[in-house]
């Protein structure tokens, strides 16, 4: 039995890293794995993971579910539920490389699915909503089944271990993505387990996070009113659901979303020009429960881009590097230097200042 939130406390760390080609060039996972090596000591081997965008072009019209099952009976139960709502296009093992550093693996499956039109008509919801509801239901109600990735043409790969080992375990050098994000975990407060490794995904949104959310319970109480279930025994997942709620369901822009979760101080808002002042005031007033406090640096991946964001006090580090069509983001400059040794344009965004990178339209 894994101890739950509050029953165990482990001190802090974490590392994040990302690389994205604005031209949509696809790159294998070698560089992003290497970028985590100089930040090794930010993690403690209790979680590592990667998100990759553009890796399933031949299946790009289908939702790619990556699922952990504790055992065969969990798998059967989950697949029975999935078949009620989705056509199963492909159901396969995620290929891994057995290495001594990664042990106690669950059953790891990749299932490409297509929502049944009859179900959508019957429930009167769109297909994304069906995916979200189904994933929440599996993760909350089916003991021993965890859908940890459910977007189109993207996927998360995560495990208990150091990130560079997790990358080799999942053979990420065999995948080609236009955008990679990575995480090395040093769990605070909660146990290290496979489902608790980052990234946390919902549809094509993925979050890697370094920090600790002081407002977790306030955020959780709010977001659970909208059907999301926080089941993964760690604070970060709530940011993923907030992103899905604000971006997909409320239709906010990325900038507006950043202004909700890392809202400027009232004194900072007061000093802004009138139009901006109105916008920030409006967003703080409408979504006060989605303000995320405490230290964080996060990278939000989505189809065709990513957004990096620090908490408004900038209590965690984040460095951005730009070179030609590439943008690199990491907790430490050393990680960027591994990916781009001679990069010249390196800078740090301010707290609460979103850095948004988009791939050229039509290139992903």
């Amino acid at each position: 039995m894994i101890p739950l939130e509050g029953q165990v406390r482990i001190p802090s760390g974490c590392a994040v890293s990302a690389m994205i080609s604005r031209d949509g060039r696809r790159m294998n996972g070698e560089q992003i794995i290497q970028s985590m090596v100089p930040m090794h000591d930010r993690s403690n081997g209790l979680g590592g993971g990667f998100a990759a965008y553009g890796i399933y072009p031949e299946y790009k019209d289908f939702y790619a579910l990556h699922i952990f099952f504790n055992d065969k009976s969990c798998q059967n139960e989950c697949m029975t539920l999935l078949k009620e709502y989705f056509e199963i296009v492909q159901d396969e093992h995620i290929k891994v490389r057995k290495i001594p550093q990664i042990t106690d693996e669950p059953i790891i499956r990749r299932v490409f699915v297509s929502p049944m039109q009859s179900v959508l008509r019957h429930l009167q919801i769109d297909e994304k909503e069906l995916v979200v509801r189904t994933v929440n239901r599996i993760n909350a109600q089916l003991d021993g089944s965890y859908v940890f990735s459910c977007g189109k043409n993207m996927g998360a790969f995560k495990a208990v271990g150091f990130p560079e080992d997790v990358g080799r375990y999942y053979r990420l050098e065999e995948y080609e993505a236009y955008c990679w994000t990575a995480h090395g975990r040093y769990p605070t407060n909660t146990p290290g387990w496979w489902g608790g490794a980052h990234p946390f995904c919902m549809l094509d949104y993925s979050i890697v996070h370094n920090g600790e959310i002081s407002s977790y319970d306030a955020n959780r109480r709010f977001i659970e009113m909208y059907g999301y279930k926080c089941t993964l025994q760690t604070d970060t997942e709530v940011i993923t659901y907030i992103a899905d709620y604000l971006l997909r369901r409320q239709g906010l822009t990325l900038e507006e979303t950043a202004a909700v979760i890392a809202a400027p101080f009232w004194s900072t808002i007061d000093a802004k020009p009138e139009a901006e002042k109105q916008m920030y005031t409006y967003l703080r007033n409408v979504f006060p429960s989605l303000l995320v406090t405490g230290p964080f640096s996060i990278i939000l991946g989505f189809e065709g881009g990513l957004m990096a964001l620090n908490d408004r006090l900038k209590l965690r580090s984040m460095v951005i590097g730009e070179q030609d069509d590439m943008v690199y983001i990491a907790s430490e400059e050393a990680a960027i230097r591994v990916m781009a040794p001679d990069i010249r344009n390196i800078w740090s965004p301010a707290g609460g200042e979103p850095v948004i990178v988009r791939v050229k339209e039509g290139a992903f």
């Binding site: 930040m39 900072t268 900038k314 430490e332 400059e333 390196i346």
Partner: protein, 240 residues
């Protein structure tokens, strides 16, 4: 001695650095190793590549010169010596430093000089050539922080909330600081010529490291920030 750092972890690298009898050590290919030269005295360490977090933490008299950028917490709690950075530095530089000097050619991140302190002849000095992020000199209790604004484009010389909780030391900003909001427990005014004369030696040292003309740098308006330390706790607790 020359040490190739690329394949070494921070522990091995620091052990070699401490064990050698050589006074001059050059590190090449540094890639994020932490705590470099931490706690050392009497050495001159040249660093090529990217030094990791807490460069020169607890430094006790060595001189560190790095030719790349430096990451977070440069000179954390340093006691004596000098750290010279020919680039930019990350957040929380000079955290709780209580002696020695830090010179930065470029910009500093958030919380530069947080909780610097001083005692008798121990007066730490930090000179930043460019601009700084928010919370510059947060909880500053002593020492001298000088920000020159020589690089960093159009941004203000310091971002939001400078000198929050400052209760000792001095902070010089080479700017009239129009539009910069300081908290009410500090005084800020244009520095007088005799006050600038006090920091001339530090500016000269900055120019010796990175180039530039001290006269030209000093021939500008500087804002001097000091705490209103008559009764610093008056506003926090009851009048006494």
């Amino acid at each position: 001695m020359e040490l190739h750092a690329a394949e070494l972890g921070f522990q091995e690298l620091n052990e070699k650095l401490r064990e050698t009898a050589d006074r001059e050590i050059t590190l090449t290919g540094c890639i994020g190793q932490r705590f470099l030269a931490a706690g050392t005295a009497g050495k001159y360490v040249k660093i090529n590549g990217i030094a990791g977090n807490a460069l020169g933490a607890y430094l006790n008299g060595s001189v560190i010169e790095t030719f790349g950028n430096a990451q977070d917490a440069v000179g954390d709690t340093m006691n004596a010596g000098e750290i010279i950075v020919h680039g930019n530095i990350g957040d929380a530089a000079g955290y709780a430093m209580r002696g020695g000097k830090i010179f930065v050619k470029g910009n500093a991140g958030y919380r530069a000089g947080i909780h610097m302190k001083a005692y008798q002849d121990k007066i730490p000095v930090m000179v930043i050539g460019g601009r700084t992020g928010s919370f510059l000199g947060e909880y500053q209790a002593g020492g001298i922080i000088i920000v020159l604004g020589l690089s960093g484009g159009e941004k203000p010389i310091v971002s939001n909330f400078p000198c929050t909780g400052m209760h000792g030391g001095k902070l010089f900003l080479r700017s009239d600081c129009a539009g910069i909001h300081f908290p009410h427990q500090v005084h800020h005014r244009i520095a007088a010529p005799e006050e600038l004369a006090e920091i001339r030696c530090h500016i000269e040292e900055y120019c010796a490291h990175f180039g530039g003309d001290p006269d030209a740098i000093l021939n500008a308006e500087f804002t001097l920030v000091t705490p209103d330390s008559g009764n610093p706790y008056k506003q926090m607790y009851v009048a006494n």
